[in-house]
Symmetry: C2
Subunit: 107 residues, 2 copies
DNA sequence: GTGTATAGGTAGCTCGGCTACATGTAGCAG
DNA sequence: CTGCTACATGTAGCCGAGCTACCTATACAC
């Protein structure tokens, strides 16, 4: 997949993967790769800043867990994040309808 | 629709709207707006440079028409552009499958 | 003659995701 | 006990596609 087609949809992916469960950054990257059959392999330099941005925006909350001596910052959706996710899903729906409609249209 | 969700899909739109017909830049913008029920209203500063880029890439060919005193640069798909369009459509398919799959997935 | 729609074009900015780097732990092979 | 790999988090700075804000020019209505 071309690199920057992701532009503008990253937040939706991160919120969606945290829907209903807590994960730390590294696990988020793995979960996205798993769910997309390896199509998504986001670099840490993409994911970590995005997570912090979403936390600052109030969509995520984080806490430090220490599991077997390893520090992990686990993230979970806030209520506001749930709403944002719903909005992102709606926007995705609209986006695919619009672009898909143009791409499929006959001359 | 958020501004930069378009990122990476503009070429596909332009190629698709020229599939099977010749249009000039201004008409392309109108055609896209029409096909998307007004959701797409691309500024000329987006479309014109993109058209020239696609022409340099060999996907489009252009010629000057003079209609009722007006100069119009009309574009049409080249054979190479046809192939590019097919590729873009396939990529769009993959893209929506991947992202859509993640967004719809249950925890 | 003034305003509006049509028509094409460019310089420069913006900002999101990527590249490349820095840091550190756990566990295994040898 | 050394080296290597996987795990885990993070930042500085680049890059480029699309956008903003302009400029130019013609046809036509009023």
């Amino acid at each position: 997949m071309k690199a920057d087609t992701l532009r503008g949809h990253l937040d939706a992916l991160l919120l969606a993967v945290l829907d209903g469960r807590k994960l730390h950054g590294y696990a988020i990257i793995e979960a996205l790769s798993l769910r997309s059959d390896g199509a998504l392999d986001l670099p840490t330099g993409t994911v970590y800043p995005a997570l912090r941005r979403l936390e600052r925006a109030g969509y995520l909350a984080s806490e430090w867990d220490v599991v077997s001596g390893r520090k992990r910052r686990t993230y979970r959706l806030t209520r506001s994040g749930q709403q944002a996710l719903a909005a992102e899903r709606a926007e995705w729906q609209e986006f695919t309808t619009v672009i898909g409609g143009v791409l499929r249209a006959e001359a």
